[in-house]
Symmetry: D2
Amino acid sequence: MNKIPVGILGATGMVGQMYVSLLANHPWFEVTYAAASPRSAGKKYAQAVTGRWHVDGSAAGKNGGGNAGGIGELIVEDANDVSKAVDAHKAGRCTFVFSALEMGKDEIRALEEAYAAAGIPVVSNASAHRWTPDVAMLIAEVNHHHTGLIPIQRKNRGWDKGFIVVKPNCSIQSYTTPLWALMQKGYEIKRLIVSTMQAVSGAGYPGVPSWDIIDNLVPYIGGEEEKSEMEPLKIFGSINNDGVLENAAEPKISAHCNRVPVSDGHTACVSLEFGTKKPSIDEVKKIWSEFKSLPQEEHFPTAPERPIIVREEADRPQPRKDRDADKAMAVIVGRIRPCTIFDLRFVGLSHNTIRGAAGGGILSAELLKHKGFI
Amino acid sequence: MNKIPVGILGATGMVGQMYVSLLANHPWFEVTYAAASPRSAGKKYAQAVTGRWHVDGSAAGKNGGGNAGGIGELIVEDANDVSKAVDAHKAGRCTFVFSALEMGKDEIRALEEAYAAAGIPVVSNASAHRWTPDVAMLIAEVNHHHTGLIPIQRKNRGWDKGFIVVKPNCSIQSYTTPLWALMQKGYEIKRLIVSTMQAVSGAGYPGVPSWDIIDNLVPYIGGEEEKSEMEPLKIFGSINNDGVLENAAEPKISAHCNRVPVSDGHTACVSLEFGTKKPSIDEVKKIWSEFKSLPQEEHFPTAPERPIIVREEADRPQPRKDRDADKAMAVIVGRIRPCTIFDLRFVGLSHNTIRGAAGGGILSAELLKHKGFI
Amino acid sequence: MNKIPVGILGATGMVGQMYVSLLANHPWFEVTYAAASPRSAGKKYAQAVTGRWHVDGSAAGKNGGGNAGGIGELIVEDANDVSKAVDAHKAGRCTFVFSALEMGKDEIRALEEAYAAAGIPVVSNASAHRWTPDVAMLIAEVNHHHTGLIPIQRKNRGWDKGFIVVKPNCSIQSYTTPLWALMQKGYEIKRLIVSTMQAVSGAGYPGVPSWDIIDNLVPYIGGEEEKSEMEPLKIFGSINNDGVLENAAEPKISAHCNRVPVSDGHTACVSLEFGTKKPSIDEVKKIWSEFKSLPQEEHFPTAPERPIIVREEADRPQPRKDRDADKAMAVIVGRIRPCTIFDLRFVGLSHNTIRGAAGGGILSAELLKHKGFI
Amino acid sequence: MNKIPVGILGATGMVGQMYVSLLANHPWFEVTYAAASPRSAGKKYAQAVTGRWHVDGSAAGKNGGGNAGGIGELIVEDANDVSKAVDAHKAGRCTFVFSALEMGKDEIRALEEAYAAAGIPVVSNASAHRWTPDVAMLIAEVNHHHTGLIPIQRKNRGWDKGFIVVKPNCSIQSYTTPLWALMQKGYEIKRLIVSTMQAVSGAGYPGVPSWDIIDNLVPYIGGEEEKSEMEPLKIFGSINNDGVLENAAEPKISAHCNRVPVSDGHTACVSLEFGTKKPSIDEVKKIWSEFKSLPQEEHFPTAPERPIIVREEADRPQPRKDRDADKAMAVIVGRIRPCTIFDLRFVGLSHNTIRGAAGGGILSAELLKHKGFI
């Protein structure tokens, strides 16, 4: 089959590079359009990232051994100039875009809307539209039904073909899917207290100064706790009869977010309280081990075989050893045990720049293709 | 004044070395007796630690600049041979001992009892006697009144001058004193969920393999969560009219203990629930900033000026930058804010091998001297 | 084609686990025999490594997603009992063995000889036989012709089918192949001064205590400098008419070996002096970029496409970002520039547990199969 | 005695903060003037560094325990406005300044000259004037006689009381003093090849992104190798009869400079070649152990008791364990052994932001006071 031509906005930044790297051999999508800041515009992609390629291997192709489907030769366009993308769209070189824009929130919000208004679907990694009521914040295994917001969004905005979907913050990905799996089996989750230990790559590049993290940790990440406490409620929400997404009322979340000297992989220690109906520890393990959702059933190419991998060893998961499990797209859980105060304790881990960013965005795009939106 | 001659059991191990280092210029105590495993016995101390001196600087004296009060020349005795210490005791060269023994729990328990039975007080860093009912587990600023167990212990055992006191686990020191300060002001603490990020030095030497901690963390420390959940209840307990220490019933604690790539300094993220009476955030800060206890009032040489230092910056405390505050004996707290589920959240930090081990032991000894027990 | 059944001695140790992991999907070889210490003997492999699986993912299969060709079900044999391997050999379940034994040098030497004497070829990762005159120390791209020692060795020892080959120390792999490539083009190398920065995995497990490496480095690795200065001379040696391997006389090497806080990947800073004939910097780059040898020409499955990858960026190679290049089997060089004292400076990097250990051993085995020795 | 009032230019940056911290209890100097960028001007110092205090403890005083001699209350002036310093100078509040300016080289050069022209001596940490012929680049134990350039500089420039001295790059401090000690004993040093492993604090703040240094190292530091190869020649130079500083012709240096995951402390692996006269290893150790210079003889307050500390352990010096030796002002050397190519190998270590920056600058100022220049 012919691959769908896709564009990347913010293609030269850290998340943009992850998209380039992960899409190098994608069976459905092919990167044929790259846009970034005016500083990069007009340069070949390989040249634009020279001296600032942050992903493993080289810009010319992962591990220096080949070339990423010709992406290195693409001329980078100015991401602020939507007309360039429209031209490419008309010419069949940009069916939709992944947004990895790095600019002010208001600018991103407006720019993503401009792309959508121009007929180009936007799958965004940015936080700008996460709380826009008619924009779905997707985790493909959890709320794939929220794609139902797309027709509503189009109608609200008078958009024909374009639309916007976003992904949630990377910090919540290591426990949101496990919570959902339990909720799906009828176990209400009332409250949870979570403490995260997050990788430096979550702060982008240059991000955390090494002076602040060698032999150290920082018990604070600006805005992260608020996001962690609110975003799951939108993800767990339901679209009502009026086509409005109503947030879930529960679980109530209290988050402590910490930065630790780990390159990739966010780890979360979770204590949670169920409603009246409480599963046994064995039941929890069974639910998580067996959990599958639409991406698994439909065999999306980027979907992990198992969205949740249960580790029985006393000391797992660990970020360096487990973050790459199943293409770095699985959530790995361990230390599943009772809580002395609430009901259940566990440790969750997910790869923040793959599952939590570019890989998650690609999985959302696969979902959208499956549902016929792109 | 003449200094009190003290001995160190397990003097060549990591904690033993910390005792040697911290006592080098102590105004009250002087190390005049060193005992270790049979392998080291008979050697000069400097020779016994050659090639395995883990503390900063050199065995010949901190920073290689001098010599630690002649300790390098001491002949190391066999710690298993109590008679050697008794001889030294009689000769006025070993008034009491710090125990930093590293052997099986049962062996330590028996050996410490043998020293005490022989008339030599034991201030122990080991966990062996923490749950022995008539042994006080001391944090000098918190339960100095538990020294009241010493006469009871002597009576129970038929010991004349010897006795045993212990210090609690290093993992709880960053929040136990803050809890106590609040309790002292009449605020009941019902429950708390704590997640720790603990330094590798807490595992001793060789301890954590570097393969397991570079670009990684380990969400498990054997036995640590159980200790964290129980030990504060003994520390907060009261001696009843029958001379029995009754553990406190609260707070109920749920602990997640993690090992992180930090050399020294344990950090804890705490969410806690008060009883009916709840202090404001400002009240909490005021109580902690102003908290002083017996070690401060009596100006014990190792006591920090302020047992609790409140940091107002959004991103503090941090282990590398704050662990050495006030001779590494203070607890540093920050991020004091409401909890969305319980009442209060904060981050606590303390230096695990100084405040949490050797320094804490020395402070206990100062307390015991002040109270006339040594 | 039917795969060749292979055994692993020391299969439960760190290098043994790497062999298991790397051979999981090998097109020529299949692990059908595993031996380790008596402690592991009699257990299933998966059970024997429970709680001490050090490689990424799980013992049940990399990334927990499958199972490593049934190896988890293999009953581990006692490596000291050669008769077990002989039985397996006769039963067609152990054509040859990879030795990743961890015991005393003398014991390893004797045990490897016992396997060879019993007719079982040994491809060893251990250092025991590196300086045995009739044992080839192989880097497949460099001295594949040293397999010519095998018939001589067999004759010397009266062995029929068995033999021993070894691989060199991991510390020299990041510059030995580049040196060889230059020598092949007629450039004599007289002297070199090298300073290495070596990963902790080179010390095995538990290896370097984390206390010694966090925010630190250790400018000493026991025995490593001596090996680094001598081993290349054997590798560059020639088999004379009497069937004796004569070591090369040059280059003269001075090595500084350092341990740094890196998990995998040894980096070397090299200054070298040519003989009279001196290549230009461009010539050096060309020679390295174009270098291929027998493993490339014959397309051995584990061979990197390019044994030497030249990086032009000012700040590469870097261990975390480049060690996995081309299946972690390539040497990556950069900072190729003149030396102000000698002639040439460069930085070399190779993955120490793959290229420098298990992967290198597998490549040697592929060479031996190609040459008909197994 | 009354303390000399001093100013700090660039007082809010990382090195400026180190000056503030180190001068907090200095017996001769007192910080009474602080200048920084226009952004900080007009604020109290404590306020200006809020949220960006990078040194241990807090801006209000090391370890949060006190207050740094009132510095926190100083109103920060605009460093570009020399007239402010002149006013302070006239008012007896700024006898001389330490320059820790962070701006373009040309701007720094001009600004430091403006202060000097206005009669205010400048002790600079910046590299701008290192190669200005009549500016001394001082290491107090090595070339204290280069203060002889000050009268020449004043005459050249028509300056009355002002002058400029600088300190060399931090990367060379771990071996320059040892080289000098040998040269002083008549041992000519012809050539040396050095490979450094440098701490991240050498790059300032924010400096090295943590993404680039966790589980990694960077074998390149822009401009550092050139500085390392040239600066010792100026330091070892002599002032000729015409009052011109003539650089030394030797040693010829080849440097490899690497950034490693260490917070503070630069380590260097050195191979060097003597002239005809070659000391034995024991002689080298004796020369280094016994080396003292003017700062020691005259007991300057910041001078280490021993400028060079010789460690005999096989695995020392190590940055985290040894960098703080003797107020972090000593050079620690170890692994003193013959070189297989040149004559001598050793490892040197020095604290880059104390000995190599602020502490070294303070020692230079003490030298200048001793010689009557301030």
